[in-house]
C-alpha cells in the first residue's frame, strides 16, 4: 500500500484531535483529543521510520507512548480533583487563572 495514505490518515487524525481540543468543553473529551493528536504523531513517526528504513521513528513512538501514559496519570488526577471541587468537568468553568 502507498505509505502516503498513512500520512494522510495521520494528518486527518491530528486535525480531528486539534479541532476537538479547541471546540469541546468537557475536560475528558479534550483529554482524549490530545491523546488522538499524540497517536496521530506516532503514526507519522512509524510511517517515516518505515519509509526511511531505520528504527529512529519507532523508538520515538515508544517514547511518546511513555510520556502520554505519564501525562494521562497527571492529567486525570487534575481533572478528578477539579471535578470534586467544582462538580463540573467543563474546561470553561476552570477560568480562575486570569487578571
Amino acid at each position: 500500500m502507498n505509505p502516503a495514505n498513512y500520512l494522510y490518515l495521520s494528518a486527518l487524525l491530528f486535525t480531528i484531535g486539534a479541532a476537538g481540543v479547541l471546540i469541546r468543553r468537557n475536560a475528558i473529551v479534550v483529554f482524549m483529543c490530545v491523546e488522538l493528536m499524540l497517536n496521530a504523531c506516532n503514526l507519522a513517526f512509524v510511517t517515516f521510520s518505515r519509509l526511511h528504513g531505520n528504527l529512529d521513528g519507532q523508538v520515538i513512538a515508544f517514547f511518546t507512548m511513555v510520556v502520554a501514559a505519564a501525562e494521562v496519570v497527571v492529567g486525570l488526577a487534575i481533572i478528578v480533583s477539579i471535578f470534586r471541587s467544582r462538580h463540573s468537568a467543563s474546561v470553561d468553568d476552570a477560568n480562575l487563572m486570569k487578571l
Binding site: V21, L22, I23, R25, A94, N95, L96, K98
Partner: protein, 634 residues
Amino acid sequence: METLIGLLVAAPLLGAGVLLTGGRRLDRTGHLLGTLLSLLSFVFGAVLFVNMLGKDADQRALHSHLFTWVPVDGFQAQVGFQLDQLSMTFVLLITGVGTLIHVYSIGYMAHDERRRRFFGYLNLFLAAMLLLVLADNYFLLYAGWEGVGLASYLLIGFWQHKPSAATAAKKAFIVNRVGDIGLSVAIMLMFTTFGSFAFADVLPKAQDASATQHATVTGIGFMLLLAACGKSAQVPLQSWLGDAMEGPTPVSALIHAATMVTAGVYLITRSGAIFNAAPDAQTAVVTVGAVTLLFGAIVGCAKDDIKKALAGSTMSQIGYMIMAAGLGPIGYVFAIMHLVTHGFFKAGLFLGAGSVMHGMNDEVDMRRYGGLRKYMPITFITFGLGYLAIIGFPGLSGFFSKDKIIEAAYAKGGTEGWILGSAALLGAAITAFYMTRVMLMTFFGEKRWQPDAEGHEPHPHESPSSMTIPMIILAFGSVFAGALFSLNSRFVHWLEPVTGHSEGDSPVSAGTVTAATMVCLVIGVGIAWLMYGRRSVPAVAPRGSLLTRAARRDLLQDDFNHVVLVRGGEHLTRTLVYLDHSLVDGVVNGTAASVGGLSGRLRKLQNGYVRSYAVSMLGGTAVLVAATLLMRAV
C-alpha cells in the same frame, strides 16, 4: 634660608590652628600669641629681606620645594615656594601692616568676648595671603586665594549676631566665587595649553606662544582679569566691598591695605608675561581699572558713613593699580609701588577711622562728628598725614606713586593714553575732594554729635596706646615711603628683574603731569572746602542731586545686580521649573502612561479560558512551521 620661607607661612597658620582649637583657656593670652606669631612672621620676612639685599639683583630669587601635593600622571601639583623681589615686597607689606593691625586690635577688640577667635581668623588671613604671594605655581596660589576668601568671610561676618554683618559676609563670599571661577578656568586653560601651571613653565611659554595659542592666551588673560575683579573689588564685581564694612574696623584695614584686595593686583603683575602677550586682555584691564577708579571715587564722595567713604576710596585706588598693571612693563612697578604706599596710608586711615569710632560709641555717620581734632590729637595728626598722602600732597607717599601712574598712563601713547591719563587726573581731583570732605566733616567745624538712642552722650577721647602706636608707625610710612622708594628710582631697580620695566615715551613731560596733578589737587580740595569747610555741615543729609543720590546707593550697583542677576535668575529658574514640569515630566509621564495603556490592552488576552490559550499555541505553531517551510523553500 629656604626653610624660612616655609616658616613664614607656618607661623600664622600655627597661630590660627592653636587659637581656633585651643578653647577658652586661651582667652586671656590668645591675642598676645596671635600678635607674637604675626610678628615672628614679619621677623622671618625681614631676615629674608636683608639676606636678599646682600645678593646680586639676578640671584635674589629663592626657591623652596616642599612636597608634591597631587601626584597624578601628567598633573603634578607641587607645594613649592618662590621668593623673589615681588613676593618679598608683598611679604613685608602683609606681615608688617598685618602685625600693626594685630597690635591695634588688642586695644580695639579688648571688650569683645570672642577676641581669641578674632585673632585666630586674623592669623588665618595672614597665612592664606602669604601662601598666595609665595606660591610658585597657580594651583597653590589658588589654595591661598580661596583661603583669603574664607578668612574674609569669617572676619566680615565676625559680628554674626547682626543680620547685616552675616549678609555682608555672604555677599562678599558669593561675589568672590564669581571671580574664583575665572581663576579656576584660567588654570585649566593653562594646563591644557602649556601642560603645567608652574610660573616657571607657563610664563615663558605664554611669552613665546605660537599664533594658534594666541587666542587661548588672551582667554587666560580675560579669566585672570575676572579673578582679579572679584578679589580686588573692580567693576563689575565691586558690590561686596562697601558692605564688607560691617566687619570690625581692623578687618577693613587688613582687607583694604595689606591683604585681599591687593591679591588681584598681585595676580595681574605676576602674570605679566601673559598680559604682555595678549594686548586685548591688557586693554580690558586698563578699561576696568580706569572705570573703577572713577566709580569708586564718585561713590566715596557721597557716603556719610566714614568707613564706606574710605571703602569707595580703596576701590578707586585699587583701580589706579589695576590700570597701571594693565599698561604693561611701563606700569607694573608703579602699580606695586602705589600698592605699598597705599598699604601704609589706607591702613592708617582705617585705623584712624576705627579710633574715631572707638571714641564716639561706634557712631559711623560723619554728620554726627565734627570738631574732633581737639579731642583726639594723635588720631587727628596720623589721620591727617594719611589724608595728605592719599590726595598726593607733594613730598608724601601718595604723591610719588600716583604721579608715576598718571605719567605711565599718558606714556601708553595714542588716544588710549590721553583717555587713561585724563581719567587718572580726574580721579586725582575727585580723590582730593572726597578725602578733604571726610577730613573736614570729621575733625573740623563745630561738634554735631548727639546722645544715642539710649541717651548716652558720647565723650570723644583719645584711644589707648596699643591703638595709637600702630597709627603713628603707619603715619611715618605714609610720609616717607614714597620718597624712600623714588630716590634714585630705587623701587624700579628693585622690582625690574621680576616684572620688567621700560620707560614709556610720554607725549607730555613729567613736569607737566605733576603740575596738572597739583592743579587737580587744589581744585578738589578747594571745592570740598567751599562745600564743607566754609559752610556748616547739616546733621541730616540733604536730598542732593540725582548723581549724589545714585552715588549714595553705590551708583545703583546693587539695584543693577538685583534687576539683572537676581530677577533674571528668578525668571530663569521659573522657566526651567516650567520646562521641567511640562517637557521633562511630560515625556516621562507620557511614556509611563502609554506603556500602562498598552499593557492594559494586552492583559485582555489572558482570559483564563484554556481553549483560547490552545488556539494561540496552535496558531503560533502553525506560524512557526509555515516560517520554517518558507525558509527551507527559499
